[in-house]
């Protein structure tokens, strides 16, 4: 009943304390999702702070979002959505046993991630130049509402934490690309790639919420 490839995958990857590779994969997946839940709550604390001060200072928030470079933010949104798509495709190609395309898709995702970080850097540099800095460091002369400093506190905290996650995600994707290149992943066993992909999608989901909250909302 079981194919030769499945037996081989068992030999290579099944740990002694699991009864089957299927169970082991289930365990890894549930563990990964629980980890993603903790990541969501980590950002949840910041989203809470954002909402709290937004409630208190709606005018400052409106003003703060006018100081954002919406163009860069939007391009970054497209880039990150694109990278999420290519990561999903890389897993798809691992499932249908096309390792070269898997590597290619991961490479595109990494390029997208780097581009995102680059644009983010440009944006930060721009803010620094205009003195759009958090709290007491805010020196921009164009700011009128007193609480805009708080908007920038949350802008830097959320995007900063997100950027750290992008870097972590890029590291994971690079490792996966090397592994895929070495032919570790087969249609029977691609759990690490799957887990790494989940992490990258999470990074994308966080940005899906950060983008309108920081750039668009008046």
């Amino acid at each position: 009943m079981r194919s030769e490839a499945a037996v081989r995958a068992d030999e290579l990857h099944l740990a002694h304390h699991f009864s089957s590779l299927e169970r082991q994969t289930d365990a890894a997946r549930l563990g990964m999702w629980l980890f993603l839940a903790t990541e969501l709550l980590l950002f949840g604390g910041l989203f809470c702070a954002y909402s709290y001060y937004r409630w208190m200072f709606p005018d400052a928030w409106a003003e703060g979002s006018h100081h954002m470079s919406v163009g860069l933010g939007t391009i970054n949104t497209f880039i990150l959505l694109g990278s999420s798509f290519t990561v999903a495709m890389s897993i798809h190609f691992a499932r249908v046993a096309k390792p070269k395309l898997t590597v290619l898709m991961l490479a595109i995702s990494i390029v997208c991630g780097l581009a995102f970080m680059g644009l983010k850097g440009v944006e930060y540099a721009d803010h620094f130049k205009h003195g759009l800095l958090p709290g007491k460091y805010l020196t921009s002369p164009d700011v009128h509402e007193p609480a805009v400093g708080m908007f920038f506190v949350l802008y830097y905290l959320t995007t900063g934490l997100h950027a750290i996650h992008v870097i972590a995600g890029l590291t994971v994707l690079s490792v996966m690309m090397v592994k895929a290149h070495r032919g570790v992943f087969t249609p029977e066993y691609y759990t690490p790639l799957d887990m790494g992909g989940l992490y990258w999608h999470l990074v994308d989901i966080i940005w899906i919420f950060l983008y309108p909250l920081l750039y668009l909302v008046v």
């Binding site: 169970r23 629980l34 990541e39 709550l41 949840g44 604390g45 702070a49 958090p134 400093g149």
Partner: protein
């Protein structure tokens, strides 16, 4: 990968525990590099006991200072540092990992018939993360001398001149360890149960751990992000919690208690699991309302998230929120009461064996009910206005967090001692120590209830002369308590070295963990265990797994 070396072969046969997990490799590296959940559990046990000792020493120093109303042998700043050390060590490094990481690690796989936890390497990693975080925080506190109290309230924490960063980072890292353990348990319970061991056949301790893990996974990250924000705030002064720049210190308290109130249930829920197990074993009776106890574990885990505002009744929270959180807090009382009634119902007409752990069960029930009732009183807004930030609160949460949680920890230590180390301690000394600890505990904290009600604020270095008598009484009680712990340390150390070997199932328990040898072999079971019965089913005599080592088993229907 973890391929344990073939074990029993080298050991002479005839020795009782020839192939236990304790003898499978005796080098230091075989412990430090183990993947065995039992060894990780034992190492966690050693660490948390060391932390308990350290926290206890700080507590004694605080109590000694409070013998005197005015300035005494330590100065005010040192006093602040001491209660911060005491709080941080006891809460983050002892109480939170105590039962889940030590006993949970050891027992959950045994109870669900698994060979190990789902992620053995992560499990070991969580120990090292814990050690790294605790080490960093302790070093930071001694070096940088944090003086904010364990709550890190703004604006103390954002304006304190001391170096706070290592402490915040250390606690953040220990939080990671807590999360990893929680994830590991949830996944283990979901995917590693033995065939035939359905959800409703899980031992009650496992239900307690499951509820705890949910809280650990969902609440700890919020503490993490809060600690990072405080670190940023302290280092850079962005003004996130500073009213002068639009920030609100109350937001800090909201985020803090969103974690730290459920954290109380991280401490007490596994304790409740321990009591559910040991109550059945001491009464030799089926649990009264198995499903009610299981459901209420999950219920407490869930409801515990909606009560955090009751810590902020006098901090400036809105009247509406005060009422809301006061009402929501009462639900915890309902679930706790369900459990308490079920335990008492289990004991009713049971064939009770008065062992040391039974003494701790009695202590637990008393401290939980007393502490819980004062908790209900404190969650009532009008009463809290009077008691907030007084010694009444200190006494209340010590009754729950130390009284109840520590009773459960000691009950677990005594009940599972033969399982973990294969030896027996002296029951007589055990009972003596239990009585001393309970008397000492009451003598320490009942005066504090009275002090608080009379208006002595917590965390103060000095107090007026007329509070002196009660403070002296409290310190005397604390000394008694410390003496009890010393006795325990002595007889357990003696038991470890010279204690007589235990039978496989010394208490005649029907808990699933007793189905295997005591101490268990490296892979937990000689052959896959079968689960034809419900857990704690005392209608039939205790089962033992047929094993080469123990043909004879005491059937313990005592007294």
């Amino acid at each position: 990968m973890s391929q344990p070396a073939p074990s029993s072969a080298q050991h002479p046969s005839g020795a009782h525990h020839a192939d236990s997990y304790l003898t499978d490799g005796t080098t230091v590296m075989s412990w430090l590099n183990t993947r065995d959940h039992k060894r990780v559990g034992v190492m966690f046990l050693i660490c948390v006991i060391a932390m308990l000792f350290m926290g206890g020493v700080f507590a004694m120093l605080i109590r000694l200072k409070l013998l005197f109303p005015g300035a005494a042998f330590i100065d005010a700043l040192t006093y602040n540092r001491l209660f911060t050390l005491h709080g941080v060590v006891m809460v983050f490094f002892f109480l939170i990992p105590a039962i889940p990481s030590a006993f949970g690690n050891f027992l959950v796989p045994l109870m669900i018939g698994a060979r190990d936890v789902a992620f053995p390497r992560l499990n070991l990693l969580s120990l090292y993360i814990y050690l790294a975080g605790a080490g960093l925080a302790l070093w930071g506190m001694i070096h940088g001398a944090a003086d904010t109290g364990w709550t890190f309230y703004a604006p103390y924490s954002t304006t304190s001149p001391e170096k706070l960063f290592p402490v915040l980072l250390g606690v953040f890292i220990v939080g990671f360890s807590s999360i990893v353990t929680g994830i590991n348990f949830i996944v283990t319970i979901h995917t590693m149960r033995a065939p035939g061991l359905t959800w409703w056949k899980m031992p009650l301790f496992v239900w307690g751990i499951y509820g705890t893990s949910i809280i650990q996974v969902l609440a700890t990250p919020v503490l993490g992000i809060l600690l990072l924000s405080i670190a940023v705030e302290h280092a850079l002064g962005w003004g996130l919690f500073d009213p002068a720049r639009g920030g609100d210190p109350l937001l800090m308290q909201h985020l803090f208690w969103f974690y730290s109130h459920p954290a109380v249930y991280i401490m007490i829920l596994p304790g409740m699991g321990v009591i559910s197990e040991t109550v059945c074993a001491s009464a030799h009776k089926n649990p009264f309302g198995y499903r009610a106890i299981a459901y209420s574990s999950i219920g407490i885990a869930f409801v515990g998230f909606f009560t955090w505002g009751h810590h902020m009744f006098v901090a400036g929270q809105s009247t509406f929120s005060n009422g809301l959180f006061a009402v929501l807090s009462m639900f915890v009382g309902i679930f706790t009461a369900i459990k308490t009634f079920n335990w008492v119902g289990t004991l009713y007409k049971g064939a009770i064996a008065f062992k040391t752990f039974f003494a701790y069960i009695c202590g637990f029930l008393y401290f939980l009910v007393f502490g819980g009732m004062t908790g209900i009183a404190l969650a009532t807004v009008s009463l809290d206005v009077h008691w907030h930030d007084t010694y009444f609160v200190v006494a209340h949460f010590h009754f729950i967090m130390v009284g109840a949680a520590l009773m459960a920890f000691l009950a677990a230590l005594h009940y599972w001692w033969p399982k973990m180390f294969g030896s027996r301690y002296h029951e007589g000394w055990g009972l003596v120590a239990a009585v001393l600890i309970m008397l000492g505990f009451n003598a320490t904290f009942i005066p504090q209830f009275l002090l608080g009600n009379n208006g002595m604020p917590r965390r103060y270095y000095t107090y007026p002369e007329h509070f002196r008598a009660l403070n002296v009484a409290s310190t005397a009680g604390a000394s008694l308590l410390a003496f009890g712990f010393i006795i325990i340390a002595v007889y357990l150390a003696v038991a470890l070295r010279y204690g007589r070997r235990t039978e496989q199932n010394p208490w005649g328990s029907k808990g699933f963990e007793w189905l295997t040898d005591s101490p268990p072999p490296t892979h937990n079971f000689h052959e896959d265990p079968q689960y034809p019965e419900d857990p704690h089913d005392y209608r039939t005599p205790p089962l033992t797994q047929p094993s080469a080592a123990h043909p004879e088993v005491e059937v313990g229907h005592a007294v």
